[in-house]
Symmetry: C3
Subunit: 267 residues, 3 copies
């Protein structure tokens, strides 16, 4: 399974191949997730124009379906885009932003999951527990009220049902696929104070999915890369504002040595 070497090999693959990642994502994070993808080496396209989805997906290495903006003009593009990805064998990463916070944010990802199979689902504990039908989930807006570890059984149930990897982001990330469960430590306490870093984790899942056909490895590599970049950025930051910029710099500059120095996995 994943270690510093296999992770760095994927980072090098992204930098060498510059895979196109198509994102239907929310208007809070279009700029920041595009910057994260570019800094890592991928080639982002952000669109929700249903007319061009099949063409864009056909040239892409992965597709992000992020439910942060649930306006009709965004939602209308998601099913056709995912269908195109199904047809082309393009892996899809689903981010159920705010599942549990409103009925619309709960039923929309569930309806998509009825028709399509994700490669990876990434969310916070409340979102993952909501998708799994866990009555104990308690969303509070788009932030989570539960710790990621509490979502372990929900993540496993989701993974089993949909045949995908599941990432539960939190102070420690939990990455689950079937019987496998890995905790990813590290990062920075400043990260929840920057908007859209969860969505950035989703975008990085897609970048790794474009170069690695193993969903558990792709999910783990994204999660670990987030934590490492967060630690590298924190060392240079004086708060959440400066953290965000140093975070991009860290994605761009991350070396094999950086990975080896910062990776923290608990199996």
């Amino acid at each position: 399974m994943t270690d510093a070497d296999t992770l760095y090999r994927d980072i090098e693959a992204i930098r060498a191949r510059n895979p196109v990642v198509v994102s239907i994502t929310n208007y809070v994070v279009t700029n920041t997730t595009a910057n994260a993808l570019l800094a890592l080496g991928a080639s982002p396209i952000m669109s929700h124009a249903v007319e061009e989805m099949a063409e864009l997906v056909a040239i892409s290495g992965a597709l992000v379906i992020n439910l942060g903006t649930v306006a009709p003009e965004y939602l209308a593009a998601m099913d056709p885009a995912w269908a195109a990805a199904d047809g082309a064998g393009v892996p899809v990463v689903l981010d159920p932003v705010g599942a549990g916070a409103s009925m619309l944010r709960t039923v929309t990802p569930l309806a998509l999951l009825d028709s399509h199979r994700p490669f990876i689902i990434r969310g916070n504990a409340s979102e993952i527990m909501t998708l799994a039908g866990d009555a104990g989930s308690a969303a509070r807006g788009v932030d989570s009220t539960a710790k990621s570890d509490a979502a372990g059984s929900a993540a496993r149930a989701l993974s089993m049902k949909h045949g995908c990897a599941v990432v539960v982001s939190g102070e420690a990330d939990l990455v689950v696929e079937g019987g496998a469960k890995v905790r990813v430590l590290g990062g920075s306490p400043l990260m929840p104070r920057v908007t859209g870093l969860g969505c950035t984790a989703t975008a990085l899942c897609a970048a790794f999915a474009a170069v690695n056909k193993n969903p558990l490895e792709a999910a783990l590599h994204a999660s670990v890369t987030m934590k490492i970049a967060g630690e590298m950025a924190e060392a240079k930051a004086s708060g959440p504002g400066t953290l965000q910029l140093h975070f991009y710099d860290a994605l761009y500059a991350m070396s094999a040595q950086d990975v080896a120095d910062h990776i923290k996995l608990v199996r």
Copy 2:
């Protein structure tokens, strides 16, 4: 009335309670105002999906109605969201971006004010004068051509008519409620060179409104916090780009001593 101690008490309340602030706001500032709210300690949700407005408002401490994007799909959510806020006793902060610059930007906030009562209205001098029906107002795009002090009588008239506090942002801010009028000094001349800092002031009004039921105090606290963070950021910035990031850092790190050192009120 407000002094350094009462302001800092509200900052601590925001940091302790993390109030949800729901924003229907323009696509230029979704990311930056969310970051400002997170840095200060609030929990932002940005949405314009009419289907979920009542649910989101029900869990929120305040609602922002920002008219920067006047596309139909944004406008359609505003009246229902405000109605939900009225019903739930959630304070609403109105930002009439560009009032006076186009007919649509002038009539839309006026129509909302016909049906609903704001807790705070925040705008620049041209916008406030336009809302008050002042023939002397002269908007030039979304930037103001008038100095904030010139809008004093317009602000008072608006405050009286709608029973709310009014913030006129400018080189000096003017905060008015009924017969009370306070000038807030400080800040940085770089601030008008960063897009969306007016909208950020509006977002902070909402964060303070979520923890302080007195509209004048909430408005003053937001105005003063903007000026202090601007001064703290300018000390570390080399231009408007770096200012914006240090501004978030300042919101995050602002201490009681920082407040005491920088607060500048003229009654």
Copy 3:
């Protein structure tokens, strides 16, 4: 033709007159292009509300039509806005983002060019070659696969057909009008790793168009300003994240000496 003095004179004109630049642009770059315009001294308005386009264009010095977001609600505003600009003598800068990447992104700018005359067209090599009907163009998503120099004949054909200047952005920019062709060197290899710097170049074309009626000079001044700000920013940056902020600072602080030190034109 353009040299350091004529460029700096235009920068001073923008700083003195603060021309309004109206942008119908994509949701990835609304914030960043507004910040670039503010840093340089222009006054940005971002909107796609068709109802107000004529009013906004009437008070503007230039109009940006950027095709990065090709959703219907954005496209619907473009033709009326451009018609208003035609009527008012306001120069229009067209950015055909992703032309060649999807049918929609190819036919939309071509349809606009059937009805309207641009002042400047700015794109990468693939986009410019696609617009010129060059079969050798090969878009790969929204990034270019061709070098800017390869687009020289396409740029000339477009310039001749539409009577406008054409900027082909790349490692070296190519600026063409009629028989004139200038290569603009400089900048930073980090620039393609920041999302939206192409769109920023388009926005700066509009700012210079607002103060200079010569399309070749306006286009060249924008191109050179991008390269200079990129070099100034790189000197202070440690990666693409920090580059972006220092880029704004450079636009804000750029002096006559900076221009003289960094300008690199090859005729």
